[in-house]
């Protein structure tokens, strides 16, 4: 954990309410952006955001990692997975196949963005976001943890409690589906410069 984070946490425990504000503000953007990608509406993202912080501070004694953002994203991941399970269909596309290498969803071509999404967002970025919304939860998580939150694959693997190879494979599946969903538009990406 960064020394600054540890100082803020210690100050909050001593009763300094502003220390919590400083800490929340520091990780507000990446955490809220990540949660927003999975929430049905801003109110839900806001609820998850608050719950993530409450759980993080409540269970700080159990925290073994030295990386606060990793710990926050791990809790956010749990919230998202719990939520996804509650509305899980009878036959899950996320269930692993008997050989354990992939899921049923990996074998099914990703949906193209809906016509509404295409007309609403003509630019490539919105098309990518719309196509990513159709990815299975695990792949979507890896994709946004990498692209939005900027986590390394080692950190993503820690968040998802999987091997780094599994995290990489999920990202590859996600990119493959985006490529298939966006078609020629995906190839335009090579003309963009960061």
């Amino acid at each position: 954990m960064a020394a600054e984070d540890a100082t803020c946490l210690a100050a909050y425990r001593r009763g300094d309410a502003e220390a919590l504000g400083r800490l929340v503000d520091k990780y507000r953007r990446p955490l809220f952006a990540f949660l927003s990608r999975f929430a049905a509406h801003p109110g839900e993202a806001d609820e998850w955001f608050q719950e993530t912080w409450v759980r993080a501070i409540q269970h700080m004694n159990l925290f073994r990692q030295k990386n606060l953002p990793g710990w926050l994203f791990r809790i956010a991941h749990n919230l998202i997975v719990d939520h996804a399970r509650r509305r899980k269909p009878d036959c899950s596309l996320d269930a692993p196949l008997p050989d354990g290498t992939a899921t049923l969803a990996d074998m099914v071509p990703a949906d193209r963005p809906t016509p509404a999404a295409e007309t609403a967002g003509r630019d490539l970025g919105r098309l990518i976001a719309a196509a990513a919304a159709n990815l299975p939860v695990e792949q979507r998580e890896v994709f946004w943890l990498r692209m939005d939150a900027g986590l390394s694959f080692r950190e993503i693997a820690r968040v998802q409690r999987c091997s780094i190879n599994t995290a990489l494979a999920r990202m590859q599946y996600a990119l493959g589906k985006l490529r298939a969903a966006l078609g020629p538009a995906y190839r335009e990406l090579q003309d963009l410069r960061p």
Binding site: V24, W53, V54, L175, L189, R193
Partner: protein
Amino acid sequence: MNQTHVERWLLLEQTGELSARQRRQLAAALAASSVARRGRAELCGLAAAIPPVTAQPAADAVPRIAARLRARQKPSLTFPPAWKPALAAVAALALLVGLRVFRYQPGGYGGSAVAAVAEEEDWTDPLEAEFAELENLISGFDSDEPFGITEL
């Protein structure tokens, strides 16, 4: 190195998770394959193309988090942190005073023990007489000697 392998290394290159040796191998693979170069350009473009999330958490998110934390805190944790050392100091002081009083008690520990033994000797059990009578009665049953009905 096959395409899947190159793709993985391109992903790891973006996050700086490749070793120097792996970076050299990847550079060689990129020099040899136009597909790899296109894949790398697409990955770089992907990061640039994604629009950032503009939504923000509620303005009162921090007070709400603090309120939730207060509501879920265990009663034992509701003591302000300054109370704990104060409580420990009071307990230590009470222990010291107790030890001091005990040490300077007239007669000390040994004297108290002797007094307790003497007191025990003086004490007579009020049930002892009744137990003795009952014992005599039972031994009377066991013996062959006849006894009157009044004895029962």
